[in-house]
């Protein structure tokens, strides 16, 4: 009997702690959402608040009707995420599969080439000079697509160990005996069995592309028309900071502030930027958790 009372107390305590932490996780997003549908004048008077005095969807109307850069940046982000994920997933899967072949001469050397990139890197400065002076990708779509996001050693090694443990050699051997080429064996035997890991790593890569702001921030110095939604959001919040820090030149500030979307539009844009993640989250969640567990300690 003693134990039952104690168990009950623990359960209640556990729920209290988890409710507090869960609220901490969700409340900032809720504030964002509520602010975006609060009337702009109310926001200026009361600040961002959880209780909207007056609701207005003007911010969303403004974003989607005024033909401004938001929709355009959204399209760039979507295109970037799709192309990047497809390319990244292709080269990661192929490479992981190649490294999983025990008979391959030089396999250890190849694995080391992949692995070494986890230990050492040239750093931002040489990377920047390499991409801008050697490959001239500054101010092109490639600047968003290529640097750092497409493939990383961690994903390749995760893919490799899945092929080693999750795809039985016997099945592949059977395919060879039936006269399948390496490519055929890969596409018709190995790939279907590796679907879970392909989905998980595709998810990691896709989220990486959707959330990335650094590539655009570093390499798109002139072509603001190539800005992804993250870059656009970033520039907006920076403009606000910049104007506030340099408010001594008041006439300029007023001019600038007039061109910045109002207080509610700002939050509405952030909601639009985060929406795809929230929408797909319930569907991808399990896969994502599995991926983290797979990466486990090595992450």
């Amino acid at each position: 009997m003693h134990n039952i009372g104690q168990e009950k107390r623990f359960q209640i305590f556990g729920h209290i702690v988890m409710v507090i932490i869960t609220l901490c996780a969700i409340l900032p997003l809720l504030l964002l959402l509520i602010s975006s549908i609060t009337d702009n004048d109310v926001l200026i008077r009361n600040g961002y608040s959880f209780i909207p005095e007056k609701i207005s969807f003007y911010a969303y109307e403004y974003i989607f009707t005024s033909g401004n850069s938001v929709v355009h940046a959204y399209m760039i982000s979507i295109m970037l995420t799709i192309i990047g994920t497809l390319l990244g997933l292709t080269i990661t899967t192929l490479m992981g599969y190649a490294l999983s072949k025990p008979f391959l001469p030089g396999r250890n050397v190849l694995t080391f080439i992949v692995f070494f990139t986890m230990l050492f890197n040239g750093g931002l400065v040489p990377t920047y000079i390499n991409y801008s002076n050697v490959f001239n990708i500054k101010n092109t779509f490639f600047a968003l697509l290529v640097p750092s996001l497409m493939m990383n050693a961690f994903n390749v090694l995760m893919m490799k160990s899945y092929f080693v443990t999750g795809v039985p050699d016997a099945l592949l051997e059977a395919a060879y005996i039936d006269g399948a080429t390496e490519f055929r064996a890969f596409f018709s035997v190995a790939l279907p069995l590796a679907k879970p890991i392909v989905a998980t790593i595709g998810l990691f890569i896709g989220i990486g592309y959707w959330n990335d702001w650094m590539n655009g921030y570093i390499y798109l110095t002139k072509r603001t028309d190539l800005y992804s939604i993250q870059n656009l959001l970033n520039r907006m919040i920076q403009n606000i900071q910049f104007l506030m820090q340099n408010s001594s030149t008041i006439s300029n500030a007023n001019q600038g502030l007039a061109s910045i979307p109002s207080v509610s539009v700002r939050m509405a844009m952030a909601v639009v930027g985060v929406l795809p993640i929230i929408i797909v989250y319930p569907f991808i969640q399990n896969n994502f958790v599995k991926g983290i567990t797979l990466g486990g300690v090595k992450g």
Binding site: N3, Q6, Q11, G14, H15, M18, I21, A25, P28, L29, L31, L43, I44, G47, Y48, S49, I91, L94, M95, A98, F103, L104, P105, L110, V114, T117, L119, F120, N121, G122, G123, L124, V125, P126, T127, I129, N130, F135, M151, A153, T181, I207, W210, N211, W213, Q230, I237, Q238, Q241, M267, A270, G273, V274, I277, Y281, P282, T293, V297, K298, G299
Partner: protein, 315 residues
């Protein structure tokens, strides 16, 4: 050894068939290798830039050697100390705080019986998927001097004067630790949770029959069995102690100059040197400092892990 021996003894026919099987595999690896070459290996020799007087028109390799001059400059400034201190100290605090809360949440989640625990877990993982830019908006909604929730609602309710959050550096160590915890707790607790789920329930049943309290079960069974995982993850984090989350330290404080003393890390310093101040050689020197010390730390951390538990080691 045996393998090499075996290879030497292959007949020409066997060798031919091995090559025939291997060539398609090499072709499969090729796109990935090209990418690694462009993205990772081509920049690597560029670290010599830190030992040069960089002139853009001469390029990295054409510029004149400068020996350790750039490093002498870097370490003669206050900056070198500040960015090293910030990077290491924040990481140490992150490790302690994140581990404590992640283990606590993982234990609670594992013990709860109600279905709603799945919901808790989903929600606390969500912040991990948000970009640094979005997080900076969320923080801004709370801390903006004019429109922020904290100044307009919380402080007002207590009759406290508004605070210019983005100008006052004393609050930022706490804000950054909190934001980092908020973002990472869901991710970190998943790994601990999966370890706990792997523990044999028999231990708990036996302990319960013997009259062990809940706290005794946690401290005598769960925590000791979690210890190897905690040690491994901590060592891995120590190996990365010279690297910081650029988005957290650059975006969340919105690059506010007044906050640099407490928000400047090696990564933000390298970035600002390169793209805001145009001080490329200094930036390169700091980058090399990070790469080399970081490399040594990863090696040391991994050697330690390998001593403790060879299966968890990276190599």
């Amino acid at each position: 050894m045996a393998k090499a021996h075996y290879k030497k003894k292959m007949s020409p026919a066997q060798r031919k068939s091995l090559m025939k099987r291997s060539i398609p595999i090499y072709i499969m690896a090729l796109p990935g290798l090209i990418y690694l070459f462009i993205n990772n290996y081509m920049p690597m020799p560029g670290i010599v830039l830190a030992f040069k007087n960089y002139k853009a028109k001469d390029g990295i390799y054409g510029s004149k050697w400068a020996g350790f001059k750039n490093f002498r400059y870097l370490f003669s400034t206050q900056d070198a100390f500040v960015i090293t201190r910030n990077t290491i100290c924040y990481n140490l605090v992150f490790i302690v705080v994140n581990t404590f809360f992640a283990v606590m949440v993982a234990i609670i989640l594992s013990e709860l019986v109600a279905k709603i625990k799945k919901f808790y877990q989903s929600v606390i993982l969500l912040p991990y998927l948000l970009s640094a830019v979005i997080i900076s908006y969320l923080v801004f909604a709370f801390l903006s001097a004019e429109n922020g929730f904290v100044n307009n609602t919380i402080l007002k309710a207590f009759g406290v004067n508004p605070i210019s959050w983005y100008q006052e550096k004393k609050y930022w160590p706490f804000i950054l630790v909190f934001v980092n915890l908020w973002k990472g707790i869901g991710y970190n607790c998943i790994i601990y949770l999966s370890t706990i789920i792997g523990i044999d329930r028999g231990y708990y049943e036996a302990a319960s029959i013997d009259g062990a309290t809940k706290w005794q079960q946690i401290s005598k069974i769960t925590l000791p069995l979690l210890r190897p995982t905690i040690i491994m993850l901590t060592l891995m984090a120590v190996g990365r102690i010279f690297y910081s989350d650029f988005g957290l330290f650059y975006q969340v404080p919105q690059n506010s100059g007044a906050l640099f003393p407490v928000t400047n890390t090696i990564d933000t310093y390298v970035y600002r040197g390169l793209l805001e101040l145009g001080d490329i050689t200094m930036s390169a020197a700091a980058g090399v400092y990070q790469s080399l010390v970081g490399f040594v730390l990863v090696l040391v951390a991994n050697l330690t892990v390998r001593k403790l538990d060879p299966d968890s080691a990276l190599f």
